[in-house]
Symmetry: C2
Subunit: 148 residues, 2 copies
């Protein structure tokens, strides 16, 4: 069955392709795409190791690229798809970008923004969780298994 | 009296020079320098407007530059001087960078990381507040006064 190109599952599959790229490059496998009017306007994966930059998470890179594409620092008509629950930095970035919607895969019980006792996303941002979380978790599990 | 080039006041003055640059460019006036072994290794100011990028806060830019300079995503021997209390995104970035110390000027009661009920900085990071906060506040006040 071909995926409907306009739904969350389709775009999360694209984010997972980015996570796989990170995996292949020996980066913590997290991927992200940003979608505006059903079109992917930026895609990225975690690059903290390659760029030697703790801020080079998939989401931060994708937000910068999407903003460059749209010529706007506000992404209030956009949806961010990310394979792992955003960390506090990335959720803080998403707050400033004012996303319409954030869709994420697996929970991050260590540094995910949901570990905070109060919401830090923009009040207008809708959140959808647990989309293809098993695939995301498997990739992360395989990555860290190889490290130990 | 000349400032001792090795103390917090000296480096915060440098961060304030960066904030002034932001002011002159019609950006929210926040400045930052990162110091390693008493040497400034990166300096930046807020550029969200010019770069159309919500993540282009002074701290994020300075962290990326400092990491590039040192060739390390960890800045655990560095101190970050910033004229305003870091926001949640920037404090989240500082967590990943594992700063030795963060020195900030004025409080940000709206989006400062201290508004959260739990600490989000790295447990090893020492925090010093309220350094030249009046100068920082005045710059911000003048900036927003001109906007209204």
């Amino acid at each position: 069955m071909e995926l409907n190109p306009l739904n969350d599952l389709y775009f999360m599959k694209e984010a997972l392709k980015e996570a796989q790229k990170a995996f292949d490059l020996n980066e913590v496998p997290v991927g992200c795409v940003i979608v505006c009017e059903n079109k992917i306007i930026s895609r990225s994966h975690n690059q903290t190791h390659r760029l030697n930059d703790a801020t080079a998470h998939a989401e931060v890179i994708a937000i910068t690229a999407a903003s460059g594409y749209l010529g706007s620092k506000y992404l209030s008509d956009c949806t961010m798809y990310v394979t792992l629950e955003p960390c506090i930095m990335c959720a803080g970035a998403a707050y400033w970008a004012q996303f319409k919607k954030i869709v994420f895969g697996a929970r991050d019980l260590n540094r995910g923004y949901l570990s905070l006792p109060k919401s830090i996303l923009h009040p207008k941002t809708e959140v959808v969780r647990n989309i293809l979380s098993n695939q995301s978790t498997k990739l992360l599990h395989d990555f860290f298994k190889n490290k130990r």
